[in-house]
């Protein structure tokens, strides 16, 4: 039950992330999440920010792998690559928050990825903020919004939601969307991200 993680090569890890292999994902969590927690502590973050950072960094990595069609070459160990990326993502977060500016200036900012990743950082942060707020909603609203984004026909949606009329469906849809958008608008991380974190257009 408490067995130690196996060792995996960089290629195995990259492939495992692409295929969402549970063994590889568990390995990444077991080996690197504690290190991300330590890093956050060192760089003036709150403990609960470590999980957000871990998820954002992994999502950025997913984008990088996709951009390279699965052929992402890592010249370092996966550990130093991933932690370097977490550090970069963290410093991008710091840039969004005035209270961290002073802390940020204490550290050198060095990208290990080569190419800047403002776009990936913005999109993945946005993605996580939406999911976090969606999960705060009631199950019926979560179901409604998922169906809405899948663009299911109205009749099918009404049936699945046990609603009797298209007006009832519309009212429910509007109420759920309004609730979600209010939650997002009130999310301080969203405010910071959209005010300061939008990627610059080339």
């Amino acid at each position: 039950m408490f067995e130690k993680s196996k060792n995996f090569s960089n290629e195995e890890i990259i492939r495992g992330i692409q295929e969402q292999d549970l063994e590889i994902l568990r390995h990444i969590y077991q080996e690197y999440f504690p290190l991300v927690e330590k890093m956050i502590k060192k760089y003036h973050g709150r403990p609960e920010e470590a999980w957000d950072l871990f998820q954002d960094s992994l999502n950025v990595l997913v984008d990088l792998i996709e951009r390279k069609n699965g052929q992402l070459l890592i010249e370092h160990t996966f550990k130093s690559f991933f932690l370097g990326m977490c550090k970069n993502v963290w410093f991008k977060k710091l840039r969004l928050n005035q209270k961290y500016l002073e802390a940020r200036n204490q550290f050198a900012y060095e990208s290990m990825i080569g190419k800047d990743f403002d776009e990936e950082f913005f999109e993945n942060s946005l993605f996580r903020i939406y999911l976090r707020n969606l999960n705060k909603m009631k199950p019926d609203c979560i179901k409604m919004i998922k169906m809405l984004t899948e663009e299911l026909p109205g009749k099918e949606m009404a049936e699945l939601m046990n609603l009797q009329s298209s007006q009832a469906l519309y009212n429910k849809k509007r109420a759920c969307l309004k609730k979600l958008i209010n939650l997002i608008n009130d999310d301080p991380e969203y405010k910071n991200l959209t005010e300061h974190g939008k990627p610059k257009k080339n």
Binding site: W51, L58, V62, L126, Y130, K136, K138, K146, L177
Partner: protein, 241 residues
């Protein structure tokens, strides 16, 4: 989101020329409309990333199961291991789980994640009976016994039934949990049927009642349940055992 109908028609390209012109003009003068349109587009952009949503769900499940391991019986891992060894020694090895039983436990641990009770408290308090709200609060605090006491006072409330079932799981009273989940499923016309099917299936898995578990997972896998993908995966795992 007062203008949802128009926003949807605009995005689907269904606005007639005059209405389209009016809509575009309104976008320039009505900041609320512009904001709602932007939010709607943003939401759709996020929600189409189903692969990433799956990845986040898997990571979340891993985190929950790992956190459970490190807090086993509220003890640090090594103390917990020692406690477990002591317990095994006491039992004298008389009870050994067979291979498939072990696998079912692993699947249960992998997929069972305590449902958050906080959503019911955060929103729409007015529609939830006060006792159920109190029960959800106790549930959220991990005080499952008090949660059950509160839910017992509102026996017809379906949300209360769902969380009473989940509290029973947390206390290891699986047979009682089954009763609550079945009652929600039999009622049918409510918002908690998906969850009831899911937790009923997991409870059967936990009890090694594989046929019943498979039957439930098959129902979920064939439906548009939010648990469909997970159910399909478990069925595959069970088939490969």
């Amino acid at each position: 989101m007062e203008n949802l109908r128009k926003i949807e028609m605009y995005l689907k390209g269904e606005l007639e020329e005059d209405d389209l012109w009016e809509f575009k003009r309104a976008l320039e003068t009505d900041p609320q409309l512009a904001h709602d349109l932007h939010a709607y587009i943003e939401l759709k952009r996020v929600m189409v990333q189903t692969k990433k949503i799956d990845l986040m769900q898997k990571l979340d499940d891993i985190r929950k199961s790992e956190t459970k391991k490190t807090r086993f019986l509220g003890l640090p891992v090594y103390s917990a291991v020692a406690a477990a060894l002591l317990l095994l020694a006491t039992i004298g090895g008389g009870i050994l789980l067979n291979y498939s039983g072990n696998q079912h436990q692993q699947l249960f641990e992998q997929y069972y994640a305590a449902e958050s009770g906080s959503f019911g408290l955060r929103s729409d308090n007015s529609t939830i009976e006060q006792t159920v709200a109190q029960g959800l609060k106790s549930y959220e605090e991990g005080d499952f016994k008090n949660a059950i006491d509160a839910f017992n006072k509102a026996p017809d409330n379906l949300m209360g039934k769902l969380y009473r079932g989940l509290s029973m799981i947390e206390l290891g009273k699986y047979d009682l949990a089954i009763g609550d989940f079945e009652s929600i499923i039999n009622h049918n016309d409510n918002l908690f049927v998906d969850q009831a099917h899911w937790y009923l299936a997991l409870t059967y898995l936990k009890l090694d009642q594989t046929d019943k578990a498979e039957e439930q997972f098959s129902l979920i896998a064939a439906d548009r349940s939010v648990y469909r993908t997970k159910a399909q995966k478990i069925l595959q795992d069970l088939k490969n055992k």
